[in-house]
């Protein structure tokens, strides 16, 4: 038998003896690769096309559509045509969007993809999105639309904007059309031949190229994450090496060349790397597929699970390389020791946890600062580096925390004290376990902190409409391209009458606006405008600005342009319960909240201190946060642009239905949106994180079982109950999990730093109690329970081999 074979066999025997250790390393590697793959796939699949362009790279506008089509047909550029019109539906408020594209056209397909039934075959057939008729109509039914009766034969969706509701028809022109936005021509990419046409406009979409940037950024992140894992895996191998020091010594004493030992160690590492990487890869794909439905709802897009081999390559390479090098390193280090030193396997000197912690704090601080600065200055690289340094720094605190726990343990009952001390004794190993646990929980914790902050802010800026309010708008008031000339006062007045007759339970208040003359908007210095800024966006639960007051934020020049001002009529004040709060003589603007802030050149400042009255408004409302007094509106004549309807309690489905079925034309309906909370996302994240954490805990328990058996046998010889051993294991698992949880919480708060420091739309500091409870209490308890369950009950007969 050659020396090499001998060393190989010896090395394989070590793996078999320490297989539990290797499983811990494997688990950490697998999780890291899975996380990296998850991140990469998520980003890759999220940075897809835009909801208006489909797969098109450019939109061409022209006067002469026929000529354009000729050119497009003759070139080999893929293109798609999309035609959209608005039509009325008989007996129902509001209009319906009708869209026509060529079915299965490669460019427009994402904008109208068939999900059920079939494509319309004639002008009497349509396909619909599931919500366009308020979930009331299904395939096979007929509907009166734009003066025709049409049959629903299929279901479609805009895969790039799932919430978009429309009707798909072959030719929209067959309907009585309310408004027609014309045909849009989308081409795969801009084509030189198009320039031959006169009078042509081209706008290009740079969406797809974003993907490359994102991919690079994610790979940078992954590279750092894998580096972090390298530390952990390296620590794991170091632990094994330490326990096997004598074996190394014996091997060396028997004459095995150091280089062979090194290469055998590297081979072991490589095998672990391949297994861990493949498992992690599969796990990552599984996680992404599991998260897909939640992600699709969040981003409002269908996500196709594309697996980009090139983008994933760095992760996979690192996954193999990292453990290979990590396994080789301690073997190399041991080779430097004398054989005698190896054989005596003296107690290692304690690791310098203090210095490491200082380094950690410095790194974490630096990371946080870089993150904030990079984020606020939109410096991607800076922010990315910050994002990486922060967590790495905090992970470096693990050894200190473990040591601290060992100190604290002096006050614990016997079993728990032994648990804490045993952790502290093998500090490096414990720290790597803690780091692995912290890492597993950090991502969901970060998610919890960020989403809670977003939810909190959304709550501070209540939804546009309270649950007892709805608004009937004159056509085209929303969104912000409000053109007063297009408002039809007669239609609005008629709508108000119809509504109060058909739905008497609603209290209607006219919504009035004035449009200031832009020339009057500046004083001598050209700064302050006459009308107050109609500040503050109003958010619905999902953070979209539904009824933003118009033009609230100044452009980069020093001017503030108010295109429209909302008038606080006595009726409006009554409806909002504000009539007693406003003395029209002393104030020109009523502002929600304790002080309204507007943004000017990135700073915050009070607007119109001398003229505003800040007040607590009673509830969410679609009216902007600033109203002006009728007298302040001056000579401009207020125009009614719609109705605010308030019911006695929360709007019932029956009432909403009645409103929808009221015969109103030329108006639009705005309803309170469903309150969006991200708690499902949080719960899912925490569940996954905890499961991964419990997996690590399980490996840790298995890993430590043999070591603890000695202590628990000795305790039993002192008359401790056989449960003491289990309590010790539970104590270790619970304490490791608790420290991991603490680090996870610290890491979880990092992303909030830039969000809080951002001058625009500052996010509040939050304490996500539920998630904290999970991470700091429930998870450690679950880990302790796991330790308890997995450690076998000490046998009645105590094994002699520990004592003799």
């Amino acid at each position: 038998m050659s020396a090499r074979t001998f060393v190989r066999r010896w090395s394989w025997r070590q793996v078999r003896k320490e297989w539990r250790q290797y499983i811990v390393i494997l688990a950490m590697l697998t999780i890291a690769v899975a996380a990296a793959v998850t991140a990469m796939l998520t980003v890759y699949n999220l940075t897809g096309g835009s909801s208006e362009w489909g797969n098109g790279g450019a939109e061409v506008t022209t006067e002469d559509e026929e000529a354009l089509i000729r050119v497009l047909e003759s070139s080999d550029t893929a293109y798609g045509v999309i035609h959209e019109v608005e039509v009325d539906r008989a007996g129902v408020v509001g209009s319906v969007q009708v869209r026509a594209t060529e079915p299965n056209n490669p460019i427009t397909d994402p904008l109208a993809t068939l999900t059920d039934g079939r494509w319309p075959a004639g002008d009497d057939e349509i396909a619909i999105t599931d919500g366009v008729f308020f979930d009331q109509l299904k395939i096979g039914e007929s509907v009166e639309l734009g003066g025709r009766s049409v049959e629903i034969v299929g279901e479609v969706e805009n895969t790039l904007q799932l919430s978009e509701e429309f009707v798909f028809a072959l030719d929209p022109a067959v309907f009585e059309v309310q408004s027609d936005s014309g045909r849009r021509f989308l081409v795969a990419e801009f084509n030189e031949e198009l320039l031959s046409l006169s009078n042509i406009g081209v706008s290009t979409n740079d969406g797809p190229s974003d993907r490359t940037v994102f991919t690079i950024m994610v790979n940078v992140v992954i590279a750092f994450a894998m580096l972090e894992v390298a530390l952990l895996v390296g620590a794991g191998f170091a632990v094994i090496a330490r326990r096997r020091t004598r074996q190394y010594g014996l091997l060396a004493a028997a004459g095995a060349p150091p280089s062979m030992v090194k290469s055998a160690a590297a081979t072991t590492g490589a095998i672990i790397g391949v297994v861990g990487t493949v498992t992690g890869f599969v796990l990552g794909i599984a996680i992404v597929s599991m998260l897909l439905p939640a992600m699709e709802t969040t981003v409002d897009q269908r996500i196709s699970l594309a697996i980009p081999p090139l983008a994933l390559l760095p992760t996979l390479l690192l996954g193999v390389l990292v453990p290979t090098l990590a396994a080789r390193r301690p073997a190399k280090a041991l080779n430097r020791l004398s054989i005698a030193a190896l054989l005596s396997s003296t107690r290692p000197r304690p690791d310098p946890v203090g210095r490491l912690a200082v380094l950690g704090v410095v790194l974490a601080g630096l990371g946080a600062v870089m993150f904030v600065v990079g984020f606020n200055n939109e410096d991607g690289l800076f922010a990315v580096v910050g994002v990486l340094l922060g967590p790495i720094g905090l992970l470096l605190l693990a050894p200190l925390l473990v040591k601290g726990m060992g100190r604290l343990a002096a006050r614990f009952p016997l079993s728990e004290r032994l648990a804490g001390r045993s952790m502290a004794r093998y500090n490096r190993r414990s720290a790597s376990m803690v780091a692995a646990l912290g890492l597993a929980l950090a991502i969901p914790m970060g998610l919890a902190v960020v989403t809670t902050s977003i939810d909190q802010r959304a709550k501070a800026r209540p939804p546009s409409l309270a649950d007892d309010q709805l608004i009937v708008w004159g056509e085209d008031v929303v969104p912000s391209d409000f053109v007063l000339a297009e408002v039809d006062p007669i239609a609005i007045a008629a709508a108000g009458e119809t509504l109060s007759a058909s739905v008497p339970e609603l209290d209607l208040t006219p919504i009035q606006v004035v449009v200031p003359n832009p020339d009057d908007s500046f004083n001598e210095e050209g700064r302050t405008m006459q009308f107050p800024i109609l500040g503050g966006e109003l958010y619905n639960g999902s953070n979209e600005c539904n009824f933003c007051s118009i033009n609230t934020i100044g452009n980069d020049k020093e001017e503030w342009l108010a295109e429209i001002a909302w008038v606080a009529t006595p009726e409006m004040l009554d409806a909002l319960g504000l009539s007693d709060q406003w003395d029209d003589k002393t104030a020109s603007a009523l502002v929600r909240g304790p002080g309204h802030a507007a943004i000017k050149d990135g700073e915050r400042f009070q607007v119109f201190d001398n003229v505003q009255v800040a007040t607590e408004w009673p509830r969410a409302t679609a009216i902007p946060e600033v109203l002006i007094s009728p007298s302040f509106a001056g000579e401009e004549q207020p125009t009614t642009i719609g109705w605010l309807a308030i019911s006695d309690g929360p709007l019932s489905d029956a009432t909403i239905d009645k409103v929808r079925r009221s015969d109103l034309s030329g108006v639009k309906l705005a309803l309170p949106g469903p309150p969006a909370s991200r708690w499902t996302l949080r719960a899912l994240g925490l569940a996954i994180g905890s499961l991964v954490g419990l997996g690590i805990t399980g490996s840790v328990v298995v890993l430590l079982a043999n070591e603890l058996a000695r202590d628990s046998a000795l305790l039993a010889s002192l008359g401790a109950s056989p449960r003491t051993g289990r309590r010790m294991m539970a104590g270790i698992a619970g304490q490791l999990a608790l420290i991991g949880g603490l680090i996870a919480v610290a890491i979880g708060y990092l992303p909030l730093a830039p969000m809080m420091s951002e001058p625009v739309d500052q996010f509040p500091f939050v304490v996500p109690w539920g998630s904290l409870l999970v991470v700091l209490v429930i998870f450690p308890l679950a880990a302790a329970a796991m330790g308890w369950l997995l450690s076998r009950r000490a046998a009645r007969g105590l094994s002699l081999r520990y004592f003799v």
Partner: protein, 267 residues
């Protein structure tokens, strides 16, 4: 045989033995490869008696000690301790016997690395529900008695081999235990340190405590009341090196019970 056995049991209990093993057999493994570690062993310790167990390696000394201490159960035969038959006790009650009445000192791995010297000594008390403060005070008192009063806060890693054994002895004595079992406590020590440890054990006999020491020390005769030698799992001989001491007198008169009335103290 069973009548004879029960009679002997009666006798040994009546005689006030601290512990008595009757007809103990212990085997390891299944039949073809069965190892008989102990066979037909009768063994008693009287209060205040110091017994040395000797014998070649593998003769069953450690096995005898662990069975006597309730760490291992006999395959056959019975163990009586203070009127109770150990094999019949539940795991919980057995643990209580070990905790309250029997102390152990092993050759090597004796102390919990995660506990300081004082905590190691206090451990049985803490397990028994004594408050940490009181347990530590008691531990410190005992550590002082073994000459380690100032080393209470040291962890085992920082103690020498002899110091560790002394800590183990202190722990074996804590809580007024009636029986101290030591398995080659001096095996890893130089002769001078070993002598100090033996002196400690000998002084532990005062107050009626029984002490059993497994040893290879040829100078046993100088300090033991009785020497029991084992060979191949059987008692080879049992003799009193000093016929003139209290136990020797009782031995020669043929009644251990008498010795108890003469000098042994029963609590």
């Amino acid at each position: 045989m069973s009548t004879a056995l029960s009679q002997r049991t009666e006798y040994s209990q009546a005689a006030g033995h601290l512990i008595s093993l009757v007809g103990v057999r212990r085997t390891y493994g299944e039949v073809p490869r069965e190892v008989v570690a102990l066979d037909h062993v009768d063994f008693q310790v009287a209060p205040g008696e110091m017994v040395a167990i000797m014998g070649p390696s593998g003769s069953g000394k450690s096995t005898l000690l662990t069975i006597a201490g309730g760490l291992e159960s006999p395959t056959q035969g019975s163990v009586h301790f203070a009127g109770k038959q150990l094999e019949q006790l539940s795991a919980k009650d057995l643990a209580e016997v070990r905790r309250r009445h029997i102390g152990f000192v092993f050759q090597g791995f004796n102390l919990l690395d995660g506990l300081t010297a004082a905590e190691n000594v206090a451990a049985p008390l803490e397990i028994d529900g004594v408050g940490i403060g009181a347990a530590r005070d008691e531990a410190n008192r005992l550590l002082t008695s073994v000459g380690l009063g100032d080393r209470g806060d040291a962890f085992p890693d920082d103690l020498s081999g002899g110091e560790r054994q002394r800590v183990a002895i202190a722990r074996g004595l804590v809580g007024e235990r009636r029986l101290l079992l030591a398995d080659e406590p001096t095996g890893a020590l130089d002769s001078q340190t070993g002598q100090g440890v033996l002196d400690l054990l000998r002084s532990a006999c005062v107050g009626g405590r029984g002490v059993v020491v497994v040893t290879h020390d040829p100078n046993v005769a100088a300090w033991a009341h009785r020497v029991v030698t084992l060979r191949d799992g059987r008692v080879e001989s049992s003799y009193r090196p000093n016929p003139t001491d209290q136990f020797g007198a009782a031995y020669s008169s043929g009644s251990v019970g008498a010795a108890e009335h003469n000098g042994g103290v029963v609590r």
